[in-house]
Amino acid sequence: MLRARGRCIDGYRFATTPLATSNPTRYLPPPMPTRIPLLDEHALARTLARMATEIVERAQGTDRLVLVGIQRRGVELAVRLKRLIDRTQESDVALGKLDITLYRDDLQTIGPRPVVGETSLPDLDGKTVVIVDDVLYTGRTVRAALDECADFGRPRRILLCVLIDRGGRELPIQADIVGTSATAGLGDRVDVLVSELDQRDAVELVRGT
């Protein structure tokens, strides 16, 4: 039982209930935040390659395909997916970036203003748009991204592609293409690290207290 804490059982699934609650009579000190690797550099590369294939499959080719990355790590992932797709399909897939800050539903309630990033989108009318993000959690970011896309044009179809689905949805939103899944608890955080911004490639689960 104790060995389950902090150890990968089958790579990425974890017990979500703290062990302390399973045995309330015994005192366990609150665990320190720990970093648990979900995907290393090689696993991430394999996952992205599979996702690239899946995108082409779901979009039925690269014709009229647009990849839209959500700031910031979604943009890096979209760039990599484009590179992978272009290499196998000999295409030049259109690329866009989207910053959803101004479409957040909590702007009226949060304190200091979040930093607004760059948005630049190609023509979306009649296209198959694939929204690319790193982590799918509450679904609120995707809701904002869908609203923002609608202000730029009328895509024929919008697909959602995420590297990791960590569960915990607060809106009826699901991804079409998923790199990997994990069940992360409320206090946990999932970090996607990309070498462009973080000097290394990895997906890690950070256990909260």
């Binding site: 800050t101 101004l102 009226q108 200091p112 203003r113 948005t119």
Partner: protein, 318 residues
């Protein structure tokens, strides 16, 4: 990001360099919003903003109104001459009555220096100064800085000469505060009657002749000569002003490098600036107007966030 602007934007004087950079950096992505097919984002949805203009203005009022509307705020314009102000209502009473109708922000232009700060200390809503007397016009200062930064990619070490009526100009004051805080060198140039007596205390150089300013500067910010000043005896005649201080192509041709020409508008063509300069390749007068909307969107966005800390009566800065 923990930097914030506080409750009001009264001027650039109380702001730190970090706060100035925050506004300019936030303005960058807002430029693109005005280029979209649907020029609207929902960031200020449900906020009510009153534009309270006690002085005539086209550019500033419309620019604020576009900025507010593109952020999805609801706006009401109040012009002093068509409101209860003409019946003798005081500024505070007008504002308190507006606030009783549950507004969130007030953009105010007023002929009296300090009007924005006065109001900010007395009402809950965020107050943005759109020009108060001879004090400051912070959003104009910010849009000038943004335009300069666009062209030169930096403000540190940049040499900016402000030419014309410095004495009566709130634009000059906001430019001086903002630019010097971000490391630019500022000089003022104009007839001695239109320079404030202690202007050097603001950390600026005084250049008595426009030819000196052209030799020295990377950019010239040419101020509007307020024609009503002539009656007050500050100038002998407009023609003489144009002959001595007017920015002409002949003078500009002697510049050692490509000068950038800014003007806050409205222009008196043939007085402080000649038409061939205003419409020439060095002029960024229209990009300034475009940047004005982005800067005002940034200020509105930044001020609308968080809970106003007005326990000490607000006021700009931290």
């Amino acid at each position: 990001m923990t930097a914030s602007l506080g409750k009001d934007l009264v001027g650039l004087e109380p702001l730190s360099a970090a706060q100035l950079r925050l506004i300019l950096d936030t303005a960058e992505p807002f430029k693109e919003v005005s280029e979209r097919p649907i020029k609207k984002v929902p960031a200020l949805r449900g906020k009510t903003i009153v534009n309270l203009f006690f002085e005539a203005s086209t550019r500033t009022r419309i620019s604020f109104e576009f900025a507010e509307k593109r952020l999805s705020a609801d706006t009401v314009n109040v012009a002093a001459d068509s409101s209860s102000v003409s019946k003798g209502e005081t500024l505070v009473d007008t504002a308190r009555n507006l606030e009783a109708m549950r507004i969130d922000m007030v953009v105010i232009r007023h002929g009296a220096s300090g009007a924005a700060q006065f109001l900010g200390q007395r009402i809950r809503s965020n107050v943005i100064n759109a020009g108060d007397g001879k004090h400051e016009h912070p959003t104009q200062g910010l849009l000038d800085m943004l335009t300069l930064r666009d062209r030169f990619k930096r403000l540190e070490g940049l040499k900016v000469a402000i030419c014309g009526d410095i004495l009566h100009s709130r634009v000059a004051r906001s430019n001086i505060w903002g630019l010097t805080k971000l490391g630019a060198e500022v000089a003022v140039c104009g007839p001695a009657t239109l320079l404030p007596r202690n202007v050097a205390e603001l950390g600026v150089t005084i250049l008595p002749r426009i030819e000196d300013a052209i030799q020295w500067a990377d950019a010239l910010n040419v101020l509007r000569l307020q024609l009503e000043r002539m009656q007050a005896g500050f100038l002998p005649s407009l023609r003489e002003y144009n002959r001595v201080f007017g920015l002409t192509n002949d003078r500009l041709a002697k510049a050692p490098k490509d000068l950038l020409i800014l003007h806050p508008g409205p222009m008196n063509r043939g007085v402080e600036i000649d038409s061939d300069v205003a419409d020439g390749p060095h002029s960024v007068i229209l990009p300034q107007v475009t940047n004005g909307v982005a800067v005002r969107m940034a200020v509105l966005y930044l001020l609308a966030g968080g809970s106003p800390d007005w326990a000490h009566g607000g006021g700009g800065g931290e």
